[in-house]
């Protein structure tokens, strides 16, 4: 843990603001992508106007030489295209910060704490392109010059980005870029950070949104089938998959609704293929009955719920963590459910691979719960080492399967019956782990019936008391097997052992809680932070170890009723202090820190009373 994690040599934030349609976002994205190619970490936050064109629009890019957990709160560099952007953001600039502005469109109020540099973005762009377009690329050039990015390197990026639009477009953009570099050099500005460029053509980092990370994790996991129906904010996962699935020889189909989508996944999984369907809360709700069928017939598949503000149509473009109870408990009858909640954009990539592994290993649907804030956030994701990928087609020992990471990825494929087992095939044979081999259509003597009716080991419908009890035990045994395997993983908690206060969170709040912990530690309050990624089943022993010795536990989540807190209270019998945020916005480190400070006072008072 610790200090290294907190302090960083390179850590700065650039914000670019202007009118929607100025190309502000693409300027920022290109800059972020360029930085990612220099092997620094990047984290972006975008605020779009509600209108397609017009309105204030901004992008913020944090750059660091170490993992970035949140957006942070202050801006070091500000690039403003118009007056509104200047007026609305100048208050966020850090002391000693730098403002780049267009003197023809922005009137500044000089201030000794901030360095102001004029660059005539609009004028330069019109000289180069003969029109209004291109000022964002001029600004990109100026930024490139400011951070010592090799110009040829940005030219390559232009080629990659605009190559498909033709050589003329690329040439025009390169001219605008060049003009931006020249204007930047004329400023003779103070350079604090230099982003060295590696000439290596193989890049170490992808620049992805959480949604794109899920889509790419899907193909990396070996899945070649997606069925879906558009729903905000999960649509970008499906859009990305409809584009890339055919490129890797896979199949992407849009269906008439969410019920049909998950049905198609059940069909595909039954037919022997890995399958995924991305959705958001209302869609997950529609899928409920089919999720149950998948669990009952023990078919692997992955469902992604990019949570949005609820209930009902709710706040489709906002964030919330309020589908947890439905994901864990929302069934008729009782079936085991596995829920995974990635914590960062990078985690979206690796946990998606893990979701497929768990689905195949335990033959059950696995639900990934992300949310709008993580789905639309962009950050660097380390490209895995392809030498570190191992496919496990047979002889699976789930305890030995590692959690996917950039260094090593185990990919679990379908565990099919052996020839010996096929001589008298029992699809749902009782086993110690609860998992029984699953045959793939086309395999002789592997025929069986998968049914939502209660059934025997052979798959024959049967409603006797002993069969229902034993089959229920078998299905839940798989959850126990998984829970035991999770115990073997490294503990998912951070912070000093010597803490009285624990904070528990799940999903996308990890970064905010982590930063709140750093703030608390800086103020002399030790805090232990638990953030399980597999939410159901939980690694119970690990959690008991985490809880041991804590005087107060704070559970942080973005919903109204405290869904994870209910789950934790029921399982571990603790009485936590619950911090909820239900405003459609992510919770900030400051808000969590404020709660920690309050709780620290309670703990202090308790100590005094005891003395």
């Amino acid at each position: 843990m610790g200090v290294k994690d907190f302090k960083s040599e390179v850590d700065f934030t650039v914000r670019i603001g202007g009118e929607g349609g100025d190309g502000v976002i693409s300027c920022g994205e290109l800059f972020a992508q360029a930085v990612a190619r220099t092997d620094y970490h990047v984290f972006t936050y975008i605020s779009y106007p509600a209108e397609i064109r017009g309105g204030f629009s901004m992008i913020q890019i944090r750059t660091r030489d170490w993992t970035i957990y949140s957006m942070g709160s202050q801006v070091n560099y500000l690039v403003v295209f118009n007056q509104e952007a200047y007026d609305r953001t100048i208050g966020d600039i850090k002391k000693g910060g730098t403002v780049v502005y267009d003197p023809d469109t922005v009137e500044i109020k000089p201030n000794a704490d901030v360095n102001f540099y004029p660059v005539q973005l609009t004028k330069i762009a019109s000289e180069v392109t003969g029109g209004k377009l291109g000022k964002n690329v001029v600004a990109l050039g100026a930024l490139g010059q400011l951070f010592n990015l090799d110009q040829r390197f940005l030219e390559k990026l232009m080629q990659d980005r605009y190559g498909a639009k033709g050589d003329d477009v690329v040439a025009m953009n390169i001219k605008a870029l060049q003009a931006g570099y020249e204007a930047g050099a004329a400023n003779q500005w103070e350079k604090k950070f230099s982003l060295d460029t590696k000439s290596d053509t193989k890049h170490k980092y992808m620049m992805l949104s959480g949604n794109e990370a899920v889509a790419l994790g899907t193909i990396a996991a070996g899945c070649r089938f997606v069925a879906g129906y558009p729903i905000t904010p999960a649509t970008p996962i499906f859009e990305t998959l409809t584009k890339i699935m055919p490129m890797v020889g896979g199949r992407a189909i849009q269906l008439e609704d969410e019920i049909a989508s998950i049905s198609a996944c059940i069909g595909a999984s039954f037919a022997g293929e890995k399958a995924i369907t991305p959705t958001s809360g209302p869609g997950l709700q529609l899928m409920g009955e089919q999720l149950n069928l998948a669990a009952m017939s023990e078919l692997p598949m992955v469902i992604v719920d990019v949570q949005r503000g609820g209930p009902s149509t709710g706040l489709p473009t906002k964030t919330e963590q309020s589908d947890l109870k439905f994901a864990i408990y929302g069934t008729s009858g009782e079936v085991p459910r596995c829920i995974i909640a990635p914590t960062t954009v990078e985690d979206c990539f690796y946990q998606t691979i893990r979701a497929f592994n768990i689905a195949e290993a335990l033959q059950m649907p696995v639900t990934i719960l992300t949310d709008q804030s993580i789905g639309y956030r962009k950050a660097t994701v380390r490209i895995p080492s392809f030498e570190g990928i191992h496919e496990i087609a047979e002889g699976l020992d789930i305890k030995r399967v590692t959690i996917p990471s950039a260094n090593r990825i185990d990919i679990i494929n379908r565990q099919e019956p052996t020839e010996e087992e096929l001589k008298d095939y029992h699809r749902f044979r009782y086993t110690d782990s609860g998992v029984s081999p699953l045959s793939r259509p086309g395999t002789p003597n592997g025929q069986y019936l998968a049914t939502g009716l209660e059934h025997t080991e052979k798959g024959v419908a049967n409603y006797t008391p002993e069969v229902h009890l034993n089959m229920t035990k078998k299905r839940f045994k798989k959850l126990e097997t998984l829970s035991k395997a999770l115990e073997a993983n490294p503990p998912e908690y951070y912070g000093s052992r010597d803490s009285n206060i624990g904070v528990i969170g799940w999903g996308s709040t990890e970064g905010a809680i982590r930063e709140a912990r750093y703030m608390a530690e800086a103020a002399g309050i030790n805090v232990r932070h638990l953030h399980p990624k597999v939410i159901s089943p939980l690694p119970e022993k690990q959690i008991r170890r985490f809880l041991a010795g804590l005087k107060q536990v704070i559970i942080v989540e973005e919903n109204f009723t405290g869904q994870f807190a209910h789950f934790i209270k029921a399982k571990f019998g603790i009485r936590p202090i619950e911090v909820h945020k239900c405003e459609g916005e992510p919770i900030s480190p400051q808000e969590i820190y404020a709660s920690i400070v309050k709780v620290a006072r309670i703990v202090d008072e308790e100590n005094i009373t005891r003395l």
Partner: protein
């Protein structure tokens, strides 16, 4: 290898009432598959809920007994994922015209290469006699104790409008014709829908006798590519025509998905991108 009917049967004794039309359809399907020399393990049978839902229990193919109304999209997913397999889907008038009716239009638009056997007995039999979407007007049922108050659905004109590429009507009261139609339907490249009028002996809205009285083969000179003529004859209610109403060739879902792969890989001359190349493209 010469297979027998046994090779297509799971050996489990059906739960259907003695005399149920489903026995005939099951036998017809097994006969058709045998005559087409389909390898049992290369076939999938998917059914929904209702008496017909039990179909998947009695076949010796890979079988999936799904949920009410969702058999068609489930089967569609299986075929899209594994175009090498033969996929047959079975449902009743509740499954296919009530709860799951909305899915058929889209399976038709996609023209997925599978056979959907829709068995209509105009009553909910498994749950013991409630109104179905095809129960005749004024007919008393458990949920219409004063007589049904809504018009029954005439589904074949609807399927013609959807653009289902193969539509036939038949019945187990004419086993020879039914088996022949099932063979044609399975061999058809695209979405084939076999509408089976089937008697229920326990809740006899449709009986063997009533079917024999009303069913009649399509005229000998009938042209199954003429959609307007098909519509005209499909609307006939005094005589329910049997035979192949409509049969045209269209690109299938599997062909179209394969084309997408080709289009997506033109830059690599048809060779697929590797995962590593895909990830690098986002760097």
């Amino acid at each position: 290898m010469k297979r027998t009917l046994q090779d297509y049967s799971s050996g489990i004794k059906p739960v259907w009432c003695p005399g149920c039309g489903d026995y005939g359809v099951l036998r017809g399907l097994q006969q058709a598959m045998m005559e087409l020399e389909i390898v049992p393990e290369d076939a999938i049978t998917i059914s929904g809920i209702g008496c017909s839902g039990r179909f998947s229990h009695y076949m010796n193919t890979y079988n999936l007994h799904g949920t009410h109304g969702r058999a068609v999209p489930t089967a569609l997913g299986a075929k899209a994922a594994r175009p090498d397999l033969n996929v047959v889907c079975v449902g009743g008038d509740g499954d296919g015209l009530g709860i799951g009716g909305g899915h058929i239009a889209h399976a038709a638009r996609k023209n997925v290469d599978m056979t959907y056997i829709l068995i209509d007995n105009r009553i909910y039999g498994l749950t013991k006699g409630q109104t179905s979407p095809t129960t005749p007007l004024e007919r008393k049922t458990k949920t219409a104790p004063y007589g049904s108050y809504e018009e029954p659905l005439n589904a074949i004109p609807m399927f013609l409008t959807y653009g289902v590429s193969f539509i036939a009507r038949t019945s187990p009261v004419m086993m020879g014709q039914m088996t022949e139609i099932l063979k044609q339907a399975i061999s058809h490249k695209g979405f084939s829908l076999v509408y089976v009028m089937s008697p229920c002996v326990t809740f006899p809205v449709v009986t063997y006798k009533s079917l024999k009285d009303i069913l009649s083969p399509l005229p000998e000179d009938y042209d199954p590519t003429n959609r307007m003529k098909a519509l005209e004859l499909a609307y006939s209610e005094e005589t329910l025509y049997t035979g192949v109403f409509y049969n045209v060739d269209k690109p299938t879902l599997e062909d179209n998905l394969q084309n997408l792969v080709r289009k997506a890989c033109t830059r690599k001359k048809g060779e697929h991108f590797t995962v590593e190349q895909m990830l690098q493209s986002y760097a």
